[in-house]
């Protein structure tokens, strides 16, 4: 119809195009968070930065781990390690839907040929004490993104509201590239001398991690690490606000939040090892949520979280 956009050739080209697109729309292009997380939302650039009054616009790729989804690299659609593309803009701009649709066009979805739908999906993260309203976005019946207006994070009402977009990169790319099995997807340009498929890069690790996640991860050590992370998170938050060395007010919301992320990931591993019963499950989730809330409480006391010296009593 309009100016036709060339079809992308590889997984990485789709990522690069998203990076360019959102950079062009004024987002800071961040790098992945350097810890194991279950979803892009856990990156402090989303969880913590959606709190408080400071404007924010960021986009990034986040490797995400879901130990229970491991299938030794054999299932065409399921992986224990995969990539999410995450955009967070605060306050949510009035044309966020159009911006989002523009990003689909940028990665080669021809709007004149496909059927894009916004289907109700209320998002909730019991571990983050967060919820929002929005949709899952369907392209020809396939869910390609999650679109959410955050209402609450870490137990705090979001004011202003952030708009969050999450793209499941492998699934979306497989659809655009017309690939049936994720391991067959070209990772770099298939015409280059050393062409690598997704499987060339991840088949090996999917196998190894699936075995480790399901059978080998040391549950006694993990249980201990969970307790330690929880205790340390509390300890960090309990420290006096004024640094005894300098007298400077430094609330350590981010280091504490790292411990919360750690506890959350360990919980996922324990879950995959099948050592958490149905009744215990709720209790563990509640413990991680309590940490997330405490970190959110701390973050809004920081400058980045909107605290100002004169607003302190």
């Amino acid at each position: 119809m309009s100016d036709t956009i060339q079809a992308p050739k590889s997984f990485q080209e789709i990522i690069l195009r998203l990076q360019n697109y959102w950079a062009g729309k004024g987002c800071a292009i961040l790098q992945p968070y350097d810890m194991e997380v279950g979803a892009g939302t856990f990156h402090p650039a989303t969880t913590l930065r959606s709190l408080g009054t400071q404007p924010w616009a960021a986009a990034y790729v986040q490797p995400s781990r879901r130990p229970t989804d491991g299938r030794y690299g054999e299932n065409p659609n399921r992986l224990q390690h995969y990539y999410q593309y995450q955009v967070l803009i605060k306050p949510s701009p009035p044309d966020l839907q159009e911006l989002y649709l523009g990003s689909l066009a940028a990665i080669g979805v021809d709007m004149a040929l496909h059927d894009i739908r916004f289907v109700e999906d209320d998002w909730e993260s019991p571990t983050l004490g967060a919820w929002g309203l929005g949709w899952e976005v369907w392209c020809d019946g396939m869910e390609v993104s999650q679109f959410t207006y955050f209402q609450q994070v870490g137990g705090h009402d979001c004011h202003p509201v952030s708009g969050e977009l999450t793209y499941g990169l492998e699934r979306l790319a497989m659809y655009i590239l017309g690939v049936d099995h994720v391991m067959d997807m070209p990772f770099n340009d298939p015409q280059t001398p050393i062409a690598l498929s997704y499987g060339d890069i991840f088949k090996q690790t999917e196998e190894e991690y699936a075995r480790w996640n399901f059978d080998t991860a040391d549950t006694a050590v993990l249980l201990r690490h969970f307790e330690e992370a929880e205790a340390h998170c509390r300890e960090i938050l309990g420290a006096v606000h004024d640094d005894p060395k300098t007298g400077k007010r430094i609330i350590m919301a981010h280091p504490a939040y790292d411990q919360c992320i750690k506890a959350s990931h360990i919980f996922n591993l324990l879950d995959a090892r099948g050592v958490i019963s149905v009744t215990e499950r709720q209790a563990y989730i509640g413990r991680v949520r309590a940490l997330a809330k405490a970190c959110a409480d701390a973050f809004v006391q920081t400058r980045a979280g909107g605290w100002q010296p004169e607003s302190a009593a």
């Binding site: 065409p76 659609n77 306050p91 949510s92 701009p93 009035p94 839907q97 709007m111 004149a112 040929l113 496909h114 059927d115 894009i116 739908r117 916004f118 289907v119 109700e120 209320d122 929002g132 309203l133 929005g134 949709w135 392209c139 020809d140 019946g141 396939m142 207006y149 209402q151 979001c158 004011h159 202003p160 509201v161 708009g163 659809y175 049936d180 019963s277 149905v278 009744t279």
Partner: protein, 736 residues
């Protein structure tokens, strides 16, 4: 007379909320206008995924002038009081009217409230509607604080009359009203102005938006059925899904797709559920084989390739989904055909209720009860017990984990695949029934035994731990379980005396809870379940083993819970029969009788009594009975004796008296055997036949005769009558 057009344009409204929202918009705005004096001729509301629309015809151009009359102080009241009244009314002294009243001369004010133009009222009412809209869930967006279901972008608010169209000025948190809207998100995204509702609807259609959800649903259904018919197939009807699909599109384009051959052998319910839940596809069936062979998907746009890309994408997604379903089905079948013990074992790790134990324990209790009930409902005890043991097995299957709504049905497939009888397989599906008031109840004996066992276990279990429904709270759906028991019993005409069973079950379950609670592992579940708690000594023996308390008292308290459960069943029965036109006092008259714990019998008695009371004889007999009973009780109270000694016909003095003796003999001769064979209809009509002689007796005879012997004999006669009548039902409880 102006017409009003309102459109609230937003980001996509959840399909399930659209209908209700358009009705709420209509209600809010029209009520608000009428309250402000602005009446109208007609109104209609519509919705699409992105808009709520309201059109109101024949509106008043302004609200009429209203005149309010206010009563003030007396004419001779202090100046200050009169001044205050004038200030409040906004009038001067000479505008007041003096009227003579019984309290003297009083001042009255007539205040004219001028009418307001329609636009002012509408702007006010619409703003209120937007700010107070009853969305089930609403949200904020951006930096604002306005709430709507998803971000609200535009308000179109237009008054149209002969002179033309005029925008009703309105500003809600920076969203200002206009005469503009936009078409289809992709096919006609431009904004355009409209001048009236007709112009709006016509332009929308040109801009690829069908405004009326019913029209969208009709189009989808029409195109889908035609497409299926052309292929010798039929669309499986699903009104809820159709309405949901119509709420997902503004410009429906129906496409029919194929299901991969690999998946055609899946049970039709699995295909249908997977396609509906995940993809919102309608199922297309081959009427000859009953198999689901195709699907209908509805796109929201036309494309140059006539939907080929869209359909190919949808087929691909479906294949991935069904590959999962087939994987579950194949795995489950393998387990079903080898040994379902794995699934039963897995139920040991699933909590049913933290006090009542796991699903596996539930199954053990159900199996024991089903075996006990089986002979009473014509089922083979071994078969009923096995059916109960397997009834929950499918909860461990992968398919039911993925699609919980397929529980029971999958059990039926898997149990059949395991080579067991159809009766056992059917019980897995049917023991959940009835789930709703219009749901069928099971009739096959094995299914009935398991269904009753499941519900009686649930009721007695929750009664044992004092988790009874209170007010509107019934988290374990115990009222539904009780109604299920009642309907199965009545529709199957199942005669069981429940009281001892309920007592026994409650005691048994209380013991199980106690044994499970701490370290009281002195008894096994099977020991408890094999004990017969309907025998008092048995109960006390166990209670003595387990508690330090007075065993008789503890056992008595547990037994009382069983009695309480029976009255709960009676209460639910009253509600159920009331809906069928049987009065509560009629049921009370029957509940007061012995054997009231056989609910089928109780209802037979109640129906017979209800029927007879509807006849002339029955109604009059009731009056005569009440008269006899009143005279008798008054006399007994006055004399301090009970007149229960047999009357003797030899003291009868009048023909009417002797006739009543004869009639009583005749009635007794019929009623006694009828009651023995539980033929309530015959007993009741024999009783009603007493009406004539009894009426004649009261007309001719003075009961309280002067002669003491005659009086005593007559009172004894009345006593014989009331006793005979109350042997059929306790008529003293009938009102009126």
């Amino acid at each position: 007379m102006p017409d009003l057009l309102i459109e609230l344009f937003s980001e996509e409204i959840p399909a399930r909320m659209q209908k209700r929202a358009s009705e709420d918009l209509k209600k809010f705005v029209t009520n608000g206008m009428v309250d402000a004096g602005l009446t109208y001729a007609s109104a209609a509301a519509f919705s699409t995924p992105r808009r709520l629309t309201l059109t109101v015809d024949g509106l008043l151009a302004a609200s009429p002038t209203a005149i309010e009359e206010r009563k003030g102080p007396r004419a001779d009241a202090p100046e200050k009081a009169i001044e205050g009244f004038l200030r409040g009314a906004g009038l001067t002294r000479d505008q007041l009217e003096e009227r003579d009243t019984p309290k003297g001369s009083v001042l009255f004010a007539r205040i004219e409230k001028p009418g307001r133009p329609a636009a002012d009222i509408i702007a006010e009412v619409l703003e209120q509607a937007i700010r107070n809209f009853p969305w089930p869930k609403s949200m904020r967006w951006g930096a604002g604080s306005l709430r709507w279901v998803r971000p609200l972008h535009a308000i179109l608010c237009l008054l149209t009359d002969e002179a033309g169209a005029q925008v009703v000025p309105l500003d809600v948190d920076g969203i200002t009203s206009s005469d503009k809207t936009a078409g289809h998100r992709f096919m006609s995204p431009d904004r355009f102005s409209v001048t009236s509702f007709d112009d709006y609807a016509a332009k929308l259609k040109r801009a690829h938006v069908v405004l009326d959800p019913q029209e969208r649903a009709d189009t989808i259904w029409h195109d889908a059925t035609n497409m299926a018919f052309a292929n010798g197939l039929e669309v499986v009807e699903d009104k809820g899904l159709l309405a949901e699909i119509a709420g997902l599109v503004e410009w429906p384009v129906v496409l029919m797709g194929r299901i991969g051959d690999d998946f055609l052998e899946l049970p039709p319910e699995v295909l249908q559920t997977s396609m509906k839940e995940h993809q919102k596809f309608l199922s297309v069936r081959n009427p000859k084989s009953g198999r689901i062979e195709r699907f209908i998907t509805v796109a929201n746009r036309e494309t140059v390739d006539n939907g080929a890309t869209i359909l190919a994408g949808n087929e691909k997604v479906l294949s991935a989904r069904l590959a999962d379903a087939k994987f579950f089905w194949d795995n489950d079948l393998r387990i079903a055909q080898s040994d379902m013990g794995v699934w039963l074992k897995a139920l040991e790790n699933v909590t049913f209720h933290n006090k009542l134990g796991t699903q596996a324990e539930l199954v053990t209790r159900m199996a024991s009860l089903a075996r006990e009930i089986a002979p009473l409902v014509g089922a083979d005890p071994d078969e009923a017990e096995e059916a109960a043991r397997l009834a929950k097995a499918d909860l461990s299957s992968e398919m039911v984990y993925e699609f919980p709504e397929l529980q029971g049905l999958m059990g039926r497939y898997y149990i059949k695949a395991s080579g067991r009888s159809e009766a056992i397989a059917a019980a897995a599906q049917e023991h959940y029934a009835p789930l709703g008031p219009s749901d069928d109840v099971p009739t096959a004996p094995v299914s009935v035994a398991v269904a009753l066992a499941e519900k009686i276990d649930k009721l007695t279990g929750f009664w044992a731990i004092d988790e009874k429904p209170t007010g509107s709270k019934d988290p374990f759906a115990l009222r539904r379980a009780a109604l299920g028991v009642i309907r199965i019993i009545l529709e199957g005409d199942i005669s069981i005396h429940w009281l001892q069973r309920l007592r026994g079950c409650v005691v048994g379950r209380a013991l199980i809870v106690w044994v499970n609670s701490e370290d009281h592992k002195v008894l096994s579940l099977s020991e408890i379940l094999s004990a017969d708690f309907s025998v008092a000594e048995q109960r006390q023996r166990y209670v003595r083993m387990l508690t330090g308390d007075d065993p008789e008292k503890s056992a008595g308290e547990l037994v009382a819970k069983g009695d309480d459960l029976l009255s709960f069943l009676h209460d639910r029965l009253k509600v159920y029969l009331r809906d069928q036109g049987i009065r509560h006092d009629v049921i009370d008259a029957c509940i007061a009788m012995k054997g009231n714990d056989d609910l089928a019998l109780l209802v037979k008695r109640a129906r017979a009594l209800s029927d007879v009371l509807k006849t002339d004889d029955g109604e009059n007999l009731l009056q005569a009975f009440k008269r006899a009973n009143n005279i008798l009780t008054q006399a007994e109270a006055a004399d301090g004796v009970e007149y229960s000694y047999g009357p003797d016909v030899k003291f009868a003095q009048t023909d009417e008296e002797r006739a009543l003796f004869d009639a009583l003999d005749a009635a007794e001769a019929k009623i006694d055997p009828a009651m023995k064979s539980l033929d309530f209809t015959t007993a009741m009509s024999a009783m009603a036949a007493l009406r004539g002689p009894l009426d004649a007796f009261f007309t001719a005879v003075q009961v309280n005769a002067e002669n003491a012997t005659v009086r005593r004999n007559r009172l004894n006669l009345l006593s014989r009558i009331t006793r005979l009548c109350t042997s059929v039902a306790d008529l003293t409880r009938i009102e009126g």
